[in-house]
Amino acid sequence: MAQDSASLSSDYQFWIWKLSVWGQASTLETQQDICRHIHQFQEFLRQIYEALKEMDSSTVIERFPTIGQLLVKTCWNPFILAYDESQKIIIWCLCCLIKKEPRNSGELKLNSWARGLLSHTLSAFRFDIKEVGLFTQSLGYTSADYYPRLLKNMVLSLVSELRENHVNGFNTQRRITPERVRSLSRVCVPLVTLPDFEPLIEALLTYHGTEPQEKLWPEFFDAVNEAFLLKKISLPKSAIVCLWLRHLPSLEKAMLHLFEKLIFSERNFLRRIECFMKDSLLPEAACHPAIFRIVDEMFRYALLGTDGAPEVLATIQVFTLCFVEALKKENNQLKFTLKTYFPYASPSLVTVLIQHPKDIPQGLWHQPLKRISEMLREVVEDQTPRSSRGPFESWFLFIHFGGWAEMVAEQLLMSEAEPPEALLWLLAFSYSPCDGSHRRAQTMEEVKVVLGHLMKLLRSPTLSARDLQAATGESQGGDPRPPACRRLIRHLLLNFILWAPGGHTVAWEVISLMAQTDEMTHEIISFLDQTLYRWDHLCMEAPASRKLARELLTELLVRVEHRPVGHVAAIQPGITGATG
């Protein structure tokens, strides 16, 4: 506490000095400096308020003899007052200084002084033109009627000035100078969150002068971006695209903001990720290839940095889904070629991937999958040094399109014929892209064996959880297969329960056997969520499977919520025998 108050005192000296330097913020340098310090300064004022709240006037005078100076200087600085919250904090401070029953002449004087300053703060910069005041008063209006309208007209006038220049270019008489645009963007910094200013902010963002250099102030971009991210301002998409194209740090901050939201929200179902995603405007903005490339690059780093975390993977897939949707909505004929979005991928591969499976009859889905597999395999196994960007790049491209990637296992289980080599390869590749060809061949062989067992079980009259587990080779202790391969097999099994006619009878038992750890439970939850999300997007007609998946998911979530952290409970069969 003592330390706190000591640091407040030293801060106090600093800000008193700053306020003297700032004066009335009439120069560029002072305005710039205020922009940089405003958050800290407001925080300091808040601390002062908290301190004043607890003090009587004699303590105030003793501890902050120059409090009057501090508040007056703040009140006379229009740049500070223009920021959101400034007035409120000052008013609260002043309210603390005004005592209900002043006991001596000193307190009386302080009361009277604070009242005057309060009045000034609330109606600062009163009509400075006599006629206007007289006129509005004669009409029975107050300044509360007049100022908002005047402000609106000022904004409209500036907007039309900017637009006119934009349209007419060189030859207008009212040609706006680059310096003026710059200074306008500077004055707007404290005001971006004032709703009246939205048209002007938009006009500035979409205004391009004739000079190659950026004329808008960097602090302006920062302020607009922050206001947009915190939902303190609503701007049309075109303006936001201009903002992100003109100011890269803003785009990066928008991405980080999205990541932060995803990290701090407790459990991310894909529907929720989709809401965050659409809300962020990033997929729509990414229709501009320059924005897409940067967003995608950040995803790549996130994926590499988290060693391919499933959450990041899911986020990329949702992003791509929303992006492709936006692209279609924006323009049926692509304004930019796909090559501009995916410069390193083969255009024919991208063309196949970007198709929505929904647009192809379900019975034909194996065809594009085979094409995808062949094309990917060609790139991955190409040994010539110049062509190879590594299997990671091919995989990174592939996993964008979750609709296809997750469909492979399902396709393999649906057909009773000999599993096609192409699909086996694609499945092995998508779970473990960096395997060597020997290891991949082994995985493919293992998948083939498991599929054979499962098909046999499908034809047997009774299904049991133990048999299923045995079929996947899970029950033997000390499974020698690498984790990615085991994960693949688990997902194969989960798909099997959802699709096999008798799957629902043993579903819960199988899940209980699998979900022995928290980690595994979460994996199954994610799998079910992803599957349901994908089916929704494909408009899949599979009522029994859908119902089962939803029931399993609900049940698992209930268990997770009620389970003490870290405790691995033996899960009781709950919905065994649920009718599908």
Binding site: Q87, W92, L122, Q137, G140, M154, P190
Partner: protein, 359 residues
């Protein structure tokens, strides 16, 4: 209904008193009650915004009150003038009390507690008085900041904005007054004409006559159902008043710039005809000074040739039908004078010659 009207009367009185020294007798209880009434009227505004009979009844009562107040003093007391004002009567009351130094210490302290509960009370955005008062103050700062940084070097644009804003307020008020009473707008305009500095008022009238129909809409947070018609009706009232007041119309046409009058004439054919009539009349007052070779007035108040010429010239530069009508009128006057083609005999011949060579 009757109790609602009584409430309205009471809050009007409270508002009237709130700016006088009489508030020195108010205690904390009185302040709290006054704010309560004001909040109640705000509630009424929200509740009955779409209820035409109640709205109309309240509006009529307010107009009657205003008329009485208006007669009593040289300057009208800004108070509740329309239904819309009910929505912010708590803010109006708060501002007056905050500014009124006659309010006693304890009462003032109570006012602060009511208005500014501090950060602990989450304000649902701009809905609390605290949020709304702060927003107003912020807008003022914004105007100030923009004026010196956004319009610093261009005072003409700034002046236009001031005038335009006043024009919007004028039209809105004219429409409100007109709804309650047919002769209301004329009476209001005449009283303003007596009271206000003329030049500013004339500029405001011209700006009001030039406003496009949509720009006089009040800020969007206000519930205004019939605002889209504001300009049309208010503008009509203005034209009607000007046509009925020949002295005002003459001053209007004499004082404002040629370009501004041409714009007004282009928008309002009735006013154009009167303007053209005035120009013709002014022209008849001039005679030809043979020695100097120019047209001069007999008296000081006569319009000089240069001014007359610039007004005709401005009209002739406007698109048809303005230009055609002006030329036809000049030709007609010239024919009346004897259709001379030589300069120095008829002012109309000379004007036509000057306009022809100038064009």
């Amino acid at each position: 209904m009757e109790s609602l009207l009584q409430h309205l009367d009471r809050i009007s009185e409270v508002l009237a008193v709130s700016r006088t020294p009489h508030v020195s007798s108010w205690d904390a209880v009185a302040v709290r009650r006054a704010l309560q009434w004001a909040r109640y009227m705000r509630h009424v505004h929200r509740r009955f915004g779409g209820h035409v009979p109640i709205r109309t009844a309240l509006e009529r009562r307010l107009q009657n009150r205003w008329k009485q107040e208006d007669g009593s003093g040289p300057a009208a007391v800004p108070g509740l003038k329309s239904f819309r004002d009910l929505g912010r009567c708590d803010i109006l009351l708060s501002q007056r009390l905050l500014d009124n130094r006659a309010l006693g210490g304890a009462a003032f302290h109570c006012l602060l507690q009511q208005l500014f509960p501090g950060p602990s009370v989450p304000d649902a955005e701009e809905e609390t008085p605290q949020g709304r008062l702060a927003l107003l103050a912020r807008r003022r700062s914004a105007v100030h900041l923009m004026r010196f940084n956004g319009f610093g070097e261009n005072s003409a644009v700034w002046n236009d904005l001031l005038v335009k804003t006043q024009a919007e307020l004028l039209l809105e008020r004219l429409q409100e007054v007109g709804k309650a009473q047919a002769e209301g707008p004329s009476r209001l305009l005449s009283s303003l004409w007596e009271r206000l500095p003329r030049n500013n008022f004339l500029e405001v009238i011209a700006a009001a006559l030039l406003l496009p129909s949509s720009s006089s809409r009040p800020p969007k947070e206000e519930l205004e159902l019939s605002s889209s018609r504001t300009q049309g009706e208010g503008g009509h009232e203005l034209v009607h008043w000007l046509l009925g007041k020949s002295d005002v119309m003459a001053t209007f046409c004499r004082s404002l710039s040629a370009a501004l009058l041409t714009s007004v004439a282009g928008r309002h054919p009735e006013l154009f005809r009167v303007y053209l009539g005035l120009l013709t009349e002014w022209g008849r007052h001039l005679h030809y000074d043979l020695q100097k070779g120019i047209w001069v007035g007999a008296e000081d108040r006569d319009v000089p040739w240069e001014e007359l010429y610039s007004r005709f010239q401005s009209l002739c530069q406007a698109p048809s039908p303005l230009k055609d009508e002006v030329l036809t009128a000049l030709e007609a006057s010239k024919a009346q004078d004897g259709d001379f083609e030589v300069p120095g005999l008829s002012i109309w011949t000379d004007l036509l010659l000057a306009l022809g060579s100038g064009a």
